[in-house]
């Protein structure tokens, strides 16, 4: 980019969310240096435009969209600045993806302590949403492993945040959805591993009660735990599914760690059975992306999962389920998909989800995905986590079902909020300002707005999500 950068109309780009269900045209800039970000802020101020920071665009909602405004795309600021295999401390630019990160650290015996279900996310995005993984109950969110980050405020001030220095900004910019400042570098502690493999256990569960009880009881015994929930079958078998738990291997459990930690033992194969290219697999999923087709797939999957078994799997294969089928989200067709994830306390989760899942089946709008996880609370300002569980559901969006689905999800919100639930700003696209106020609390919202005023007095940082939830 030139020093004297004009805001030209030819960088007007149609951007989408991860689920391809939202489109927002914006003026997109792809800076490579912090100085350029400063210039873009000045430009935004001159033109009266707002700025939204975007990484990989893997949010299911409008977190990285800014219709009619400026998109600050940080994906080109993707250098790993320092990596010390002796201590496991890594310092990265915000556009570094989890994929780049694990591929750098894994062969030397380290693994990112918290990862999302896709490795395409950027660290800047991961911090802004404060992502969690299948070990949230044990390791917390990604923010808990950040030792330091630097950020540029829209005022042009550069700041450094650690849990001690600028602590209020440390705990609010992580989880702050990129609305307080632009994270310009991240220092994180990696987790030491002694093998490239995890020991994975799989058990069937036969209904929702057993499903949640199993997660609650077994989470403390394992490093990771995650459940698949069959969303297509109700009645007595409502909530049935399969639990996967995984443990790190220690000492002699892996006789040949040098071998298993090699990168080529980790990368996901591009072909199935060595022949079928996965890049076009989503096309073959399309015929199943309807109620009958998916009922068949879910039922078959459940039957296949009835066998209790234990196996070893590479870290990447265990974690990055969403990357198994490239572009899987396109299989939902033209209207795309939305994700609805609710976080509920252990005591109320079963009744609330029974009500939601039953409602979705009765109204003929079942979810095509059900994933359960175990969680614990954290100290970040806009936290989504709590002592309990989460259930993530994917809904196909069509021109026909929009109104009915919107109505149903409003009822879901009511059920979840009455049950003391919370929502996650990287996922739900329909959460209203009122719902957010209810679960975050007036005090948290006021505190966030005060910080916003302090960091961004000109209100330059605004996303479509910000206007929806805090506007």
């Amino acid at each position: 980019m030139e020093a004297n950068m004009p805001l030209t109309l030819n960088n007007f780009t149609q951007l989408e969310n991860f689920g391809h269900s939202l489109r927002a045209p914006s003026f997109r800039f792809k800076p490579t240096r912090v100085a350029e970000i400063c210039e873009i802020f000045q430009l935004a101020e001159r033109e009266g435009l707002t700025v939204t920071v975007r990484g990989a665009g893997r949010s299911y909602n409008d977190a990285a969209l800014n219709g009619g405004g400026i998109i600050l795309d940080l994906s080109a600021m993707n250098n790993i600045l320092d990596w010390d295999p002796a201590t496991g401390l890594v310092r990265c630019e915000p556009g570094v993806t989890l994929e780049q990160l694990w591929q750098r650290v894994e062969p030397e015996g380290w693994w990112p302590p918290v990862v999302s279900g896709t490795m395409r996310t950027t660290l800047g995005g991961c911090l802004s949403a404060n992502i969690h993984g299948k070990n949230n109950f044990r390791m917390g969110t990604i923010g808990e492993h950040v030792t330091k980050f630097t950020a540029l405020l829209p005022t042009g001030t550069e700041i450094t945040c650690t849990p001690q220095e600028n602590a209020d900004l440390f705990y609010s910019m992580i989880s702050g959805l990129g609305m307080l400042g632009v994270i310009t570098s991240v220092t994180m502690q990696m987790k030491h591993i002694e093998s490239g493999l995890l020991e994975v256990h799989a058990w069937p569960v036969h209904d929702l009660h057993e499903h949640l009880a199993f997660l609650l009881e077994n989470a403390p015994k394992h490093d990771y735990i995650v459940g698949w929930l069959d969303t297509m079958n109700g009645g007595k078998s409502l909530g049935r599914g399969q639990i996967h738990a995984a443990d790190y291997l220690h000492g002699r459990q892996d006789p040949n760690p040098q071998q298993t930690m090699k990168l080529n033992n980790q990368v996901l194969p591009p072909r199935i059975f060595g022949v079928f290219p996965k890049s076009i697999l989503y096309l073959f999923m399309m015929p199943f992306a309807n109620n009958l087709g998916w009922w068949g797939v879910s039922t078959a999957k459940y039957v296949a999962s009835l066998r209790k078994h234990t196996f070893r799997q590479s870290h990447a294969a265990f974690h990055f389920l969403l990357d198994y089928v490239p572009n899987w989200e396109l299989s939902y067709g033209r209207g795309g998909l939305i994700q609805y994830q609710s976080f509920l306390p252990s005591e109320t989760a079963e009744d609330a989800w029974r009500e939601m899942l039953t409602m979705s089946l009765q109204r003929g709008m079942p979810s095509y995905l059900g994933v359960t996880k175990r969680h614990r609370p954290d100290k970040f300002l806009l936290t989504h986590a709590l002592d309990g569980f989460s259930l993530a559901l994917d809904f196909k969006v069509t021109d026909k079902n929009r109104a009915a689905l919107s109505k149903m999800l409003k009822e879901f919100d009511r059920i979840a909020l009455n049950a003391g639930g919370r929502f996650y700003f990287a996922k739900n696209s329909e959460t209203s300002a009122e719902a957010a106020r209810e679960f975050l609390g007036e005090e948290t919202i006021q505190k966030f707005k005060e910080l916003k005023k302090r960091c961004d007095p000109g209100n330059l940082l605004e996303s479509d999500l910000f206007r929806r939830v805090f506007g």
Partner: protein
């Protein structure tokens, strides 16, 4: 004859609240109608607002725009349309205004250029250069001044829809109003060229050629006004064509056949006709 020009006012714009957020389950299409204060533009504004569009309405008369906006917003029960007083002949203001509107609407999916003036010279032996110039400035150059930057945005976004309101009067140069014929013929050719450029970028360009429509402009028509339709009917035809992403339509549709005949009248006969 020309109305006084309302200056484009920054204060009016910044007072508007942002439109409600679009979500996957409550999507919002966003559009601009240039020349919206009455006639086909106003009817399209009402029609599209009813379809859920969020719209920026542009015209010279701030008063007319304001009352149209408050009427539409009252009917739809929410802030669907907003007024931007503007004269299309103030070309140099357009790029900044376009950016302002796109930011206010939260994006842009549709631009409809309706603005047009018609000043008949008042006889087949009369000429009026000032009027001819004004017709070209508004009907043709105004369209180019708006649609060039819009095309640039849509082509890089690889999405969007452009609608231009031409006229059956552009299909042939006739004795009655050479300036108007020329402005509309030029507009049709310009829109065709845009279509040829933009279809490959997934942008739809629709040319609408109305016959007689019951508007203020109809008073400028000379001779009998056959097949006159109300503006609502024209707006309905245009909305249908937009949904089908058509390329050229006549409204009422019978004009397609009438103009087919007229276009094929040989010159030695056409020269002798008095319309």
């Amino acid at each position: 004859m020309l109305e006084s020009i309302s200056p484009f006012s920054e204060e009016i714009l910044s007072n508007y609240p942002k439109p409600a957020a679009a979500t996957p389950l409550n999507p919002r299409r966003r559009g601009i109608i240039i020349g919206a204060s009455d006639g086909i533009g106003a009817a399209l504004a009402r029609r599209l607002a009813r379809e859920g569009y969020t719209l920026a309405l542009l015209a010279r008369s701030a008063d007319k725009l304001e009352s149209l906006c408050s009427d539409i917003n009252r009917t739809t029960g929410e802030q669907r349309v907003r007024a931007y007083p503007h004269d299309v002949a103030e070309y140099e203001k357009i790029p900044a205004l376009l950016r302002r509107i796109v930011a206010d609407l939260g994006g842009l999916d549709l631009v409809i250029f309706v603005a047009g003036v018609n000043y008949p010279p008042g006889g087949i032996d009369k000429y009026n250069f000032e009027n001819d110039r004004r017709m070209i400035e508004v009907n043709l150059i105004g369209a180019m001044a708006w649609l060039n930057p819009v095309a640039e945005m849509f082509q890089s976004a690889k999405a969007g829809q452009i609608v231009g309101i031409g006229s059956v009067a552009g299909d042939r140069g006739r004795v009655g109003n050479p300036g108007y014929n020329t402005s509309k013929a030029g507009l049709a050719t310009y829109l065709e060229a845009l279509r040829n450029r933009l279809t490959r970028r997934r942008v739809n360009v629709l040319t609408v050629k109305p016959g007689f429509v019951r508007t203020e402009m109809l008073k400028a028509a000379q001779g009998p006004t056959l097949f006159t339709i109300p503006v609502e009917k024209a707006a309905e035809d245009i909305w249908k064509a937009m949904k089908q992403r058509r390329q050229v339509i006549y409204t009422a549709s019978i004009w397609r056949w009438i103009m087919l005949v007229i276009q094929h009248v040989p010159s030695f006969i056409f020269r002798k006709l008095s319309f």
